[in-house]
């Protein structure tokens, strides 16, 4: 068990290193001079541009600069934005709650609704099943951001039921918070509900056909227990895996959704930073995203261990 976690932690560190190195080299394809020019604008003299580039350490060799960034990053110092000079960690911590509240709410809504739909489809089959299958295709095919546009133009712009843009923190006003995040969550959730309901339906149908379910029924165990205690638990692992993959996708989807709803989250930071080539900020976002993914995967593994004694014991 301890060995498992040590291995996982090491693998995660290597992953973080590789992803940061890749992002770092990708963004270094633009020359230091050009970056300094973008920061200072067209009116700056070549002298000033050179000075600025040197000041930001852009003229040092690649490995020196990466090493420099890495040694600071290990201590938790992700540097300052080249454009606004804010601490990257400050920017991230102020923006993270917005993205997290959207993503976590989406995951909760997704988990609940996909379970209900998946179970209904697998148990009732027939037209319920067909409806869920069709909904799954539609949910997959409709891009989340298009759904967002539809929702904004109908429910927010025309019907004024929700806020079209902006974010209100829950500690300022819960009603306001709900009004700002409902539509983003809805547009993100549609696709992931579709994928997860489909997964659960498939694995639940397989489990319900298995021998031990028949033996439980033959033993007089109530259908409610057969379905919710036994079958659902065996059907859960694939669902959990897809949930963790969807979450990676949701972090990406949030970037576009945040733009549509003008939410001040990580996504909008990422959009600005990549467009301007703000290396420290982009790296900070990437590192944060990878850490979230690593943590989620770990949580899924732990959940699988709790559910499945085979994983837990061996």
């Amino acid at each position: 068990m301890i060995l498992f976690f040590v291995k996982r932690a090491l693998a995660s560190l290597v992953l973080l290193f590789v992803v940061s190195l890749l992002t770092f080299s990708l963004l270094n394809l633009t020359s230091g001079q050009a970056v300094a020019r973008t920061i200072l604008g067209p009116l700056a003299t070549d002298e000033q541009v050179h000075q600025r580039a040197e000041q930001l350490g852009l003229l040092a060799p690649f490995w020196t600069r990466f090493g420099d960034w890495l040694t600071h990053a290990v201590t938790g110092n992700l540097g300052r934005s080249w454009f606004s000079s804010e601490q990257v960690t400050d920017v991230l911590t102020s923006r993270l709650p917005v993205t997290l509240s959207v993503v976590i709410c989406t995951v909760i809504v997704t988990a609940v609704l996909s379970t209900l739909l998946g179970v209904a489809a697998a148990v009732y089959r027939g037209w319920v099943d067909r409806a869920v299958q069709i909904a799954a295709i539609v949910g997959f095919a409709l891009p989340g951001f298009w759904v967002a546009l539809l929702l904004v133009s109908t429910l927010a712009v025309q019907a004024h039921l929700f806020a079209a843009t902006g974010y209100i923190a829950p500690n300022a006003s819960v009603g306001g918070w709900l009004s700002t995040i409902t539509l983003p969550v809805a547009s993100l959730a549609i696709g992931s509900i579709a994928a997860l309901a489909q997964t659960l339906r498939g694995s639940l149908i397989d489990v319900l056909r298995s021998d031990f379910i028949r033996t439980l029924r033959a033993g007089g165990v109530s259908e409610r227990s057969v379905l919710f205690r036994h079958a659902l638990r065996s059907a859960a692992p694939p669902w959990l895996t897809v949930l963790s993959l969807q979450l990676v996708g949701l972090l990406g989807g949030a970037v576009i959704i945040e733009k549509i709803f003008a939410l001040p989250g990580i996504g909008s930071v990422a959009e600005q930073a990549t467009a301007r080539g703000d290396l420290p900020l982009v790296l900070g976002v990437v590192v944060l995203m990878v850490i979230i993914v690593i943590v989620v995967n770990l949580l899924v593994d732990i959940a699988n261990g709790i559910l499945n004694p085979k994983v837990r014991i061996s």
Binding site: V19, L27, A141, L149, V157, D211, G219, M289
Partner: protein
Amino acid sequence: MSTATGTQASETRTRRTPLQRFLRDPLGADSAVVLLIIIVASLAAPLLSPYDPNFTSLNLVFAPPSPAHPLGGDGVGRDVLARLLWGGRASLLSGAIVLVVACVLGVSLGLVAGYRGGLFDTIGNWIANALMAFPGIIILMASAAALGRSIWISMTIFGVLLSPGFYRMTRTNVRAVRNEAFVDAARVFGISPGRILFRHILTVVRGPLLIQIAGAVGIAVVIQAGLDFLGLGDPTLPSWGVMLSDAFRSIYTSPLQILWPGLMIGLTAGAAALIGNSIRDVLEEGDVVRVSPAAVRAARRQQREATQASMDVMDDPNELLAAEDLRVSYGISKSTTKEVVHGVNLSIRRGEVLGLVGESGSGKTQTSLAILGLLPEGGFVSGGRIMFNGLQINGLGPGEMRGILGKKIAYIPQEPMTNLDPMFSIGSQLIERLRSNTNMSRAEAAAKMNGMLDRVGIADPARVMASYPHQVSGGMAQRVLIAGALATEPDLIIADEPSTALDVTVQAEVLDLLRELQRESHCAMLLVTHNFGVVADICDTVAVMQGGQIVETAPVRDIFARPQHEYTRSLLEASLEGRPSRSAREAHQ
């Protein structure tokens, strides 16, 4: 037995090639047509629309639909239809790039990793896992900023990010095939590994690959539109994503602009996904066919009429279970069914042990599952009736049946390891089963089950109760199932080949145990087996089944001494175990 019906059913279906079956699936064929129309329309955009997609005209700004411009104009005065047609090219191009990159990279590396294994495999898996953890859209955004806004660059990178799916799928399939006997055989014959891989493994991978491709194309279309929407696409190229981005800017003034490009994206991605689903269905066909409720009703109506006719038959008061003209059918298509048990009659008196004998596929298991009311999906009782304690039990709802199952009728399955829930400890399963059928408290049930486990010869009941199914042996698991079945003191035990899946030495022990317990409790038993040694050992009466019918029923002595039916004689001759069969053979000569 279910496999026998399955192959029969699939024989009739496999006459069509997979492609033909795919084209017969309305959803799949329609989706293919839709996708084809989208492809042709985008390629023929210059022919279909006389307008340049980037030409702006002040008269056309937010122009309503007109004969000259069927979909009107956009916010800067461009023809919407022309942009829609030309925009399709960007989406299709991105789908194609992603497909080629992901497919070539994933499949080729997956082939090598799956075939070679070892270090290559380990490193490949690690990279695949790492790629799946990548925040894809951020990488795409960063690359657009650093490398320029080209659909070729961004979609190539996205293809790399999607390749793990192809890699894993190929690798898993190759690993499964690699250890098959025919690959070894080919190697022995001196056929090079490369040719083996190509000829055999690619045929196996083909189906899942097509499904994966359909999914990847759908995702590529959506992601490319998303990048364009964010303004990270090529601004000179008309595309659905750019159209959505323009429409977003005018969402307050002209909300309808978002409609067309969104529908096109949805249509393309949806058609791709449906094609994938349809291919999956075609590949999985022959699995289970669900009969339409109408066909089941028709078959059941016949059953009721038959039941009414035989209502006046007086039953023997000692009779516990009787099957009268029992018929079991499976669906082979929505409206046609196939009968696999053809009018079985059998009767078990209280305390009697009836052996149901016959070769695999003769309908023994179907008959016993029909009695339990637990036929697999697609199967149903299509005629006759099953009487238990004077009550007709076929056609009872699941709720009423539960009052009987586990309490009055208990079931001992064939394969002990797959009949325990792997997720729960043995103790918790046994206690739940017992408490479902009694009013015992948890502690009482635990004490009772401890005693039962001790009774079935388990040395350390407490340890076994705390174990999980994967931690015990097959013989142990079967003892556990027997203890569970007998704990509620049922009137009837249905045991479906209870020893077949066990080691030979364990088989004898389990059978001895069953016989002992049956004599102690005086419960009746329906023992399904193909082993005459077992029959001679335990049974009072024997019913011989062949091809879904009972050909002979007789007391056990008579079966061995004077087998009446030709099939019974051949079964006895084929059975080399047990003395009676040998003597029967000698008597016959």
